[in-house]
């Protein structure tokens, strides 16, 4: 096996706008052989994305390489002129960005962007690239693989976009693919298919990979080796099985321990007779200009009803693209429902948030799935977090500053971050800011759309603990949208399983011990990856079920 990547004593630092130096990567060295898949795991903000990008000879604005070398396929990237680097990017090494939402150009169709790599490098005829792209779409379990490429980025769901960006990276037949958290927005069933697709494509092409992830179970399935990072330094490195089964470093052990918090059963309901905080009845909603009956041409939600009691949590799980985010947007009033009723705290809310009262808006906060697009890139973190404080609570001056610091502490972020802009944060850091902003409102109900998907196990566990603690203190309620079924089960009193815009079933801990009965739910639950190498390869799903639900 020949060596593909050689990283030696890499040092990268960032400069804040006051000229203060922040060391991001402090002397990292590792190698990757051809066809080998190496996972980078570690704390959110530890420098995984930074290293991954540097493998492509690129550092984000504000950062610069201060030492060390990166050698890719025998050439030292740092010594190359920009034009030569450009010829390598996409053809030799390609990248699946952490935030797919931000990586797609809103002005072009998805297909145009997927085949662009091939166009740039002229490595294959465009027509052939399109066929190949459709093949990849199918392999990645995307719905309507033949036509999804004609849509624009804002017309597909978060998870769909993520898979599309993976297709974009794989289409050019590179020697090395860098996956930066490529399955964070995927439900487990889809994830299984996607991982399989990754593995087969990479095995066929002898493609090496760097797989950045915090999901240890996924890493266990796909990686040959694991590198554990923290604070910009390598903590431990070794074969996947070794790391997972015999971790040496204390931090690695911590990471593993935090994986999948035991589903501590929630105390039984005491306030059974309490009026529900949120009731959603018969929601029909979708996209496009409404027809004569007021119904949208693209109907996403088909008669969804659910209810949530005060101080309780409701989880929503379901396939990527089934309408979870749409449901959250409908409840928040961003996408007014065509039919149905939303009742919060006994009051019927107007379908459009513009007609809602200010208190209602405060009481119901939504955390957008994509933190990248939901944070104003022009505002500093303290402005972003300070605004709801000033707006809802009239906080100003020192009080507000102090509360901002508190919020940062709560989401486990250093206070020094407050001066930065979203562009200067890591993916997981942005996600936490996004959550902290919703917390700042002191709402009664928070709609959490994938709020831990970009977080390592330790931080994610801390965030979950935080949410629980807040709930205990303030009797908050959460509507918890996530693909991470274990986490959902860990904190939710009830779980709604959705499929193609409809509620399949509502799982309650007191019914059937919280186990699913519907076939789709069973498939979903059985697809949760295990922290065991080879689980994926050995996974034998009920063929009948898979067939039934493969027509997405």
């Amino acid at each position: 096996m020949t060596r593909l990547v050689e990283v030696r004593d890499l040092r990268i630092e960032a400069r804040t706008d006051a000229g203060r130096i922040v060391e991001i990567i402090r002397g990292v060295s590792f190698d990757i052989d051809e066809g080998e898949i190496v996972a980078l795991i570690g704390e959110s903000g530890s420098g995984k994305t930074t290293i991954a990008l540097d493998l492509m000879g690129y550092t984000r604005p504000g950062c610069r390489v201060t030492g060390g070398t990166v050698t890719l396929d025998g050439v030292e990237m740092g010594a190359l002129p920009e034009s030569r680097r450009a010829t390598m990017r996409g053809s030799l090494v390609s990248y699946v960005p952490q935030s797919a939402a931000a990586a797609f150009n809103p002005a072009h169709t998805i297909m145009d962007q997927v085949v662009e790599v091939v166009q740039i490098h002229g490595s294959m005829p465009v027509a052939e690239a399109r066929t190949r792209a459709v093949g990849l779409f199918r392999a990645l379990a995307l719905p309507n693989p033949d036509t999804i490429g004609d849509r624009y980025p804002h017309q597909v769901s978060g998870g769909q976009l993520q898979r599309l960006s993976a297709a974009m990276a794989l289409i050019g037949n590179p020697k090395l693919v860098i996956f930066d958290e490529p399955t964070t927005a995927l439900d487990v069933t889809t994830q299984v298919e996607v991982l399989r697709a990754f593995k087969s494509v990479m095995r066929q092409g002898g493609i090496a990979g760097v797989y950045v992830s915090h999901d240890l179970a996924v890493v266990a399935q796909i990686a040959d080796r694991i590198i554990v990072l923290r604070h910009g330094e390598i903590q431990e490195e070794g074969r996947t099985a070794d790391i997972l089964e015999r971790p040496q470093h204390a931090y690695t052990r911590q990471l593993l321990a935090a994986f999948r918090p035991g589903a501590a059963p929630r105390p039984p309901r005491i306030d059974q007779d309490d009026a529900p905080l949120l009731e959603v009845r018969g929601i029909v909603a979708g996209y496009g200009k409404a027809d004569a009956e007021g119904l949208p041409p693209i109907r996403i939600l088909k008669d969804v009803s659910l209810s949530l009691a005060r101080g309780r949590n409701l989880g929503i799980v379901g396939e990527s693209g089934c309408g979870k985010s749409t449901l959250a947007r409908v409840i928040a009033g961003i996408l007014p429902a065509a039919r149905g009723e939303i009742v919060l705290d006994g009051r019927t809310l107007a379908p459009d948030f513009r007609q809602r009262r200010r208190e209602d808006l405060r009481d119901l906060q939504i955390v957008f799935q994509s933190a990248d697009t939901a944070l104003n890139p022009r505002q500093s973190i303290s402005e972003i977090l300070g605004r709801p404080l000033a707006f809802y609570h009239g906080m100003g001056g020192r009080a507000r500053e102090a509360r901002v610091d508190q919020l940062l502490d709560m989401v486990r972020l250093p206070r020094a971050l407050r001066h930065r802009r979203p562009g200067e944060l890591s993916g997981g850091q942005k996600q936490r800011i996004n959550l902290a902003r919703a917390l700042a409102a002191d709402a009664k109900l928070i709609l959490c759309d994938e709020i831990t998907s970009a977080l390592d196990t330790v931080v994610a566990a801390a965030i979950i603990d935080l949410l629980k603690e807040l709930q205990r203190e303030l009797s908050l309620s959460y509507l918890f949208i996530s693909h991470d079924i274990e986490t959902v089960r860990a904190i939710c009193d009830e779980v709604v399983v959705m499929y193609k815009g409809a509620k399949v079933e509502q799982l309650r801990p007191d019914v059937n011990d919280g186990q699913p009965t519907q076939p789709y739910s069973r498939l979903l639950f059985s697809s949760v990856p295990q922290l065991r190498t080879g689980w994926l390869d050995g996974l034998a799903q009920d063929p009948e079920l898979t067939r039934a639900f493969a027509q997405r």
């Binding site: 990008l53 492509m56 690129y58 984000r60 604005p61 034009s83 450009a86 010829t87 390598m88 990017r89 996409g90 053809s91 390609s94 990248y95 960005p97 935030s99 931000a102 990586a103 797609f104 150009n105 809103p106 002005a107 072009h108 662009e116 790599v117 740039i120 490098h121 624009y152 804002h154 017309q155 974009m168 996209y287 496009g288 990248d372 890139p377 562009g423």
Partner: protein, 318 residues
């Protein structure tokens, strides 16, 4: 998508008519507010009260203004722009010829300056912060800081008087050869390009820079795109809305705003016609010219608006 644009164009057409009507009313009454009327101005120093009264009656101007306006509107509905008060020539005839000239000049200027300006603007954006960028900035501002009449006069002094390469005047009426036409157009086109390019250069630079920071441009870089491709294919389409608006605003100047160029190069265009009409209070002619300008402007900005929407799928599918 096509149906959306059709719907929008249709809607705009209706709105444009309303806008035109508003403009007509406003201009009519603004002109009425102007001191002096056509008769006084025609008679000039000879405007004794009885002479004024006599001529007014003879020209049927003693009817109430509102009635004359309605009459004018009625004729307009049948496509008749009326007859000039001053020389009894149909307004359409007066405008027709000169509008053609103006459009010719505008088209040539636009054809040259729009691509050049956008190229310069985008180049400046690509090379932001470099010496080239700064040079382009200083140069464009310096160029528009020089008043138009000075650029024109200087061009005449250099190219016509001193070097004798080009004619000092651009009367294209007698020009028959292509090279003659080129010569006649050269100086007005250059002068006008100087005037309108700056806005396009600066605005396209600013708009492109704004989008160059977007993460999808970074992604394009990671796909191996050249700087050119990043700017042209990824940044530019997202900056198109503001850019076409800047272009539309710049081009709208080419009809009504070219008065100085028309005067100095003696080019018989519509801007001077309008000015004449205002100074003689020739209401039908003022209205006619104003309608043309307004129409041209509405046309340009409607195109700009459509491009804005078409270039942004989020708006297009809204």
């Amino acid at each position: 998508m096509n149906s959306l644009i059709l719907r929008m164009v249709a809607g705009r057409l209706v709105v444009a008519l309303v806008t035109l009507l508003i403009v007509a009313v406003v201009i009519f009454f603004a002109t009425a507010l102007l001191p002096g009327d056509v008769v006084q101005i025609l008679l000039g120093q000879a405007a004794t009260p009885e002479a004024v009264k006599g001529l007014r009656t003879a020209m049927h101007l003693d009817q109430p203004a509102a009635l004359r306006f309605l009459l004018w509107l009625k004729n307009l509905a049948t496509g008749d722009l009326g007859v000039s008060y001053v020389n009894n020539i149909p307004v359409a005839e007066l405008i027709g010829n000169r509008l053609g000239n103006s459009l010719k000049l505008a088209a040539v200027t636009a054809a040259i300056s729009v691509p050049v300006a956008l190229t310069l603007g985008v180049t400046a954006a690509i090379l932001r912060g470099t010496l080239v960028d700064r040079m382009i900035a200083v140069f464009t501002i310096a160029v528009i800081s020089v008043p138009e009449f000075l650029v024109a006069t200087l061009a005449v002094i250099v190219f016509a008087v001193t070097l004798g390469w080009l004619p000092a005047l651009s009367m294209t009426g007698d020009v028959t050869t292509i090279s003659g036409l080129l010569k006649a157009f050269a100086m007005p086109v250059i002068t006008l390009s100087f005037v309108i390019s700056a806005q396009m250069i600066r605005m396209s630079r600013a708009a492109v820079i704004e989008t160059l920071n977007a993460p999808y441009v970074e992604m394009a870089l990671l796909k191996g795109a050249s700087r050119r491709r990043m700017v042209l294919r990824h940044a530019l389409p997202n900056a198109l809305g503001p850019i076409v608006n800047a272009v539309a605003l710049s081009l709208s100047y080419l009809l009504g705003g070219v008065i100085i160029v028309e005067t100095i190069f003696n080019y018989p265009g519509i801007a001077k016609l309008m000015l004449d009409a205002v100074s003689t209070r020739d209401l039908p002619l003022i209205q006619g010219c104003a309608m043309i300008f307004c129409l041209a402007y509405l046309l340009l900005i409607t195109i700009a608006d459509i491009v804005t929407i078409v270039s942004n799928p989020r708006l297009r599918h809204a």
